[in-house]
């Protein structure tokens, strides 16, 4: 063993045991971390507020007397708890995150800095509008960018997420039908749609009628035409679609939809493929939500908050929800009540206040930083990277819609199925979990539902060529192992090197434990 002159080893010896059980249960940098309820107590605190002056209580005799049971920690303990937890997470900043349909692109830190400026982060939604003209101006600028990039004449900013945006767009459609006195109760949704599409339609009382895709993974105008009728209110179509393909008959689809008196709702989840390349407004779209947390780089934050502004066609613009911005010379007004709406006929209000300002500023910062040229380049790079992966894996992994040679271009995400895994004993899930041991977050799996064992890979524009090559090399290695390797344990047992092995989801659902309970209460409940 190599040692320095003080007798300190300077190179590792040969490991003799692969797996050791540690005293703590920790594994080096990966610490086991108890719940706050197991390390804190109700008397401990990490804040130093002054004592309240004595005052006569005005609480109406409803003071809380019994203990709540909320544990506290001091600041150092708090830091350690959450830092340790954070290290159990995969993140964009730590590696390629190829989740199809999720657009896990780099989140610029300038966005975060701008969101924390006092005039942005520390203003109240209901302070006088005369004191927040800069904030309304920011919203107005974002609105203008979104309208320009989509070629649409109006935008509703307030929806708080993609699904909330769907609700917004579909409510505008429902309101437009109602204004015409038409009672239509069916919404067409392709089989490949995101689950939120049928859920949104049903949420509003629509009947959902599904449309099959063609063998090439897209929807034909003919199929749409066949499904249309006087009872159809709208079609909800994702473009580029969830198979990673641009709906090539989209212009004809819009035409037949409009001819039948229905509206065209476009799910804009995949807008990142086409920014600066083609405008949904030019394709005949009536409403489309834009996930600011996908295309415009606001952080996903472990599952939100998002933001889902909806661009609207001239036909739907009058029905946009409250609040909306009115421009009168230099003065900007947020119209908050229907009594001030003038000629507009807002369908209602989707949320308290004005929506996700914190996300607006991040998205606008991204837009200004990239500029028109950078945004177009980003979309081109996203599409280029997905196709590079496709071309580099097409000989090993099967594509449901890749054409006979696997050469059909995809948009910003590439879809594989599990035909190539047939008879290997390895499933899509096993393959994805093996990626974890290699240091990657898995791709989107088993979605879209119309493809068996789907694997949807979206690299985004944020990866260098070296990073893409390493990812491709890894998938090629795993694909070869899956097909030709003798030992399938690297798949069946995977992941083996993550903070936790595969978790028992059946147990979680059958014996739901949704909160911590004190030991005594726990025993009594079981």
């Amino acid at each position: 063993m190599a040692m320095n002159t003080q007798g300190r080893p300077t190179a590792p010896g040969t490991a003799t045991i692969a797996e050791i059980q540690t005293f703590t249960g920790n594994r080096g940098l990966d610490h086991e971390e108890p719940l706050i309820f197991e390390i804190g107590d109700t008397g401990r605190t990490g804040v130093d507020l002054p004592a309240a002056p004595k005052a006569k209580s005005r609480l109406g005799g409803l003071e809380r007397s019994a203990e709540i049971g909320l544990p506290g920690l001091t600041e150092p303990e708090t830091m350690r708890h959450y830092v340790r937890l954070s290290r159990k997470n995969y993140a964009i900043d730590s590696g390629l995150y190829p989740l199809g349909s999720c657009t896990m692109k780099h989140n610029p830190r300038l966005n975060e800095k701008m969101a924390r400026l006092p005039g942005i982060g520390d203003i109240h939604p209901l302070q006088p509008q005369s004191t927040v003209q800069g904030a309304i101006q920011l919203m107005e600028t974002l609105a203008r960018y979104l309208m320009e990039l989509t070629g649409m004449p109006a935008v509703a900013l307030s929806p708080k997420a993609g699904a909330h945006g769907e609700l917004c767009g579909m409510l505008a459609i429902k309101a437009a039908h109602e204004a015409k006195g038409s009672k239509r109760d069916v919404v067409l949704v392709p089989d490949s749609a995101h689950g939120t599409n049928p859920a949104t339609a049903a949420f509003m009382g629509y009947r959902v009628k599904s449309i099959p895709a063609m063998a090439d993974g897209t929807v034909s105008a003919e199929a749409v035409k066949a499904a249309l009728g006087p009872d159809v209110a709208a079609i909800m179509l994702t473009n580029p679609n969830t198979c990673g393909l641009f709906e090539r008959e989209i212009v004809e689809i819009a035409k037949v939809v409009h001819e039948a008196g229905a509206y065209f709702y476009c799910d804009g989840a995949n807008f990142n493929a086409i920014v600066g390349k083609v405008r949904p407004g030019d394709l005949g779209v009536d409403a489309m939500h834009i996930n600011l947390h996908k295309t415009f780089s606001t952080p996903h934050g472990g599952g939100g908050p998002g933001a889902g502004p909806v661009v609207l066609s001239a036909a739907l613009a009058p029905y946009a929800p409250l609040p909306f911005i009115r421009k009168d010379g230099d003065k900007l007004t947020l119209v908050e009540d229907v009594s001030e709406a003038g000629d507009a006929a807002p369908f209602g209000r989707l949320t308290a206040f004005h929506g996700q300002m914190g996300m607006y500023v991040r998205a606008l910062t991204y837009m200004l930083s990239h500029g028109s040229d950078g945004m177009r380049q980003a979309s081109e790079d996203a599409v280029l990277s997905a196709n590079y992966i496709r071309a580099s894996l097409k000989d090993l992994m099967s594509q449901p819609f890749g054409g006979p040679t696997g050469d059909r271009p995809c948009m910003h995400e590439v879809l594989f199925d599990d035909t190539w895994l047939k008879d290997t004993g390895v499933t899509t899930l096993d393959f994805a979990k093996a990626m974890i041991d290699e240091g990657y977050h898995p791709m989107t799996m088993y979605f879209p539902l119309v493809v068996h064992g789907a694997m949807l890979i979206e690299p985004t524009e944020s990866e260098s060529k070296q990073s893409l090559d390493q990812f491709i090399g890894t998938l090629r290695f795993l694909a070869n192992e899956a097909r030709h390797g003798n030992d399938k344990s690297r798949f069946k047992e995977a992941p083996m090197l993550s903070p936790r092995r595969r978790l028992d989801e059946t147990k979680a659902a059958r014996e739901p434990r949704l909160r911590w309970r004190p030991a005594a209460a726990k025993a009594a409940a079981e």
Binding site: G46, A163, H354
Partner: protein
């Protein structure tokens, strides 16, 4: 472009590997006539310095809450958030991770959600809570829909003490979802008899605690009245710090409790993003919207957490889901749970007491201004004052004197001219004696 790692040489290599000549060959499915031939007419890429300057200019045109004596509330409150909270939520591993669908490598998110759910359940006095909603107002709308599902009835009674924006959100869902709402008139005095509006068709009665006008009422009688008619009690809390001082809604018989959680851990942000808290009884959990983290074990028997009961959700159930909600408000929930952990029960109670004491002091000072009266008998950290003349003008005049003095009720209830002389005034732990004195003095001046 500083955010794009590929250079032209990389792009050329990649195109060659793909076997196409130009990038537009990959856009072949886009109808050629629709492919943009030139760049959108927007500014081109700008440096970090230039962007910072531009956004900074917009920011500078706003009066930030921290720069003046500040008393605005009505559903969003300015509290002190410890510095460590913002530091921790900006950890890359929290900020830049996705929904924890791969539990092996997202235990960090799943464990804090489990802790968050536990804290929310304790605070509201309920059995279970979900992993958060977009905000309080959308949570309120979802609570009403959940009550419809549970009771198989379709009419909600909305208290006149409910925040008008919350009412509007709930109405919007009702109007387009073919359900009904019975709205009680605005109730600034906190005297309404909501129980009288409950009938055999009522799925739920929705009351705010404290009300938007600040008053606090025992929820037990209304819970009993609702339950006697087979309806549920939905309690809305827009100032969650109040639950550090007040009896929990769960203790008084609530069936669903929804809160705006912004006050803990989250800044004002001009209205969003915020975080909706959603809690209910164990027996209703399968009718709940939104994500839920649950405890389980891994293949080696180690404790771990997963998203669970997802058969309620849209990605599994599609049109049969309990809601179309997909996103939660993860990072805001993280800020909430970290701040709550820093507070602990001792800190939360102290914070609540401080808020109440500050508001009591302010009510006394404002009540002494000639022409001003305080409407409330009871309140936590926000109350309603009546001023001579138009409240909106008073607020503008105060703003000219660099005081943000509250929310004129006319901004929330423009159709009720009889409320045009009312102002909602909030005082939290951030206000100093000097702030409150300055407010009272300025109010005297402008009246």
């Amino acid at each position: 472009m500083r955010y794009l790692p590929l250079d032209d040489a990389d792009r050329a290599d990649m195109l060659a590997k793909i076997g196409v000549k130009a990038i537009d060959d990959l856009f072949a499915d886009v109808p050629n006539a629709k492919l943009l031939k030139s760049l959108p007419p927007l500014a081109k890429t700008q440096s970090e310095i230039a962007v910072e300057r531009e956004i900074g200019r917009l920011s500078a045109r706003n009066v930030s809450a921290g720069s003046v004596p500040f008393f605005v509330g009505a559903g969003a409150y300015r509290h002190h958030v410890p510095a460590s909270v913002d530091h921790l939520i900006q950890r890359s591993e929290f900020l830049t991770s996705y929904t924890p669908y791969q539990p092996e490598i997202t235990q960090g998110t799943l464990q804090y959600l489990f802790e968050f759910q536990s804290q929310v359940a304790l605070l509201t006095g309920m059995d279970v809570a979900n992993a958060s909603m977009y905000d309080g107002s959308t949570a309120c709308g979802e609570a009403v829909l959940m009550a419809h599902r549970i009771t198989r009835r379709k009419k909600a009674v909305l208290s006149g003490g409910l925040h008008p924006h919350y009412r509007a959100v709930t109405e919007t869902l009702a109007k387009w979802g073919d359900t009904a709402v019975a709205e009680l008139p605005p109730d600034p005095q906190g005297k309404e008899d909501a129980a009288a509006a409950i009938d055999g068709e009522t799925s739920c009665v929705v009351v705010q605690y404290p009300s938007v006008y600040g008053s606090i009422r025992d929820l037990k009688p209304i819970a009993d009245a609702a339950h006697a008619k087979g309806a549920l009690l939905v309690v809305v809390v827009t100032e969650v710090v109040a639950l550090g001082a007040l009896k929990s809604p769960g203790d008084m018989g609530a069936d669903i409790v929804v809160c705006e959680g912004q006050s803990i851990g989250n800044g004002l942000n001009f209205g969003g993003p915020y975080v909706g808290l959603f809690a209910t009884r164990e027996k209703f959990v399968r009718q709940m919207p939104g994500r839920l983290a649950g405890e389980t074990v891994d293949a080696e028997g180690k404790r771990g957490y997963v998203l669970t009961l997802s058969t309620r959700e849209q990605h599994i159930r599609r049109e049969k889901a309990t809601s179309n909600i997909c996103t939660n408000s993860g990072l805001c929930a993280l800020a909430f749970t970290i701040h709550m952990t820093l507070l602990g029960e001792a800190g939360l109670r102290k914070l609540a007491a401080l808020n109440h004491a500050n508001a009591c002091d302010l009510a006394e000072r404002l009540g002494k201004v000639k022409g001003v009266s305080v409407l409330n008998d009871t309140f936590f950290n926000e109350f309603t004052i009546r001023v001579p003349g138009k409240a909106a003008d008073v607020i503008e005049k105060l703003a000219e004197r660099h005081i943000l003095g509250g929310v004129p009720v006319s901004r929330l209830e423009p159709d009720h001219p009889e409320l045009a002389d009312l102002i909602l005034v909030a005082s939290t732990e951030i206000n100093t004696d000097d702030d409150r004195a300055a407010f009272a003095a300025a109010l005297k001046e402008v009246l």
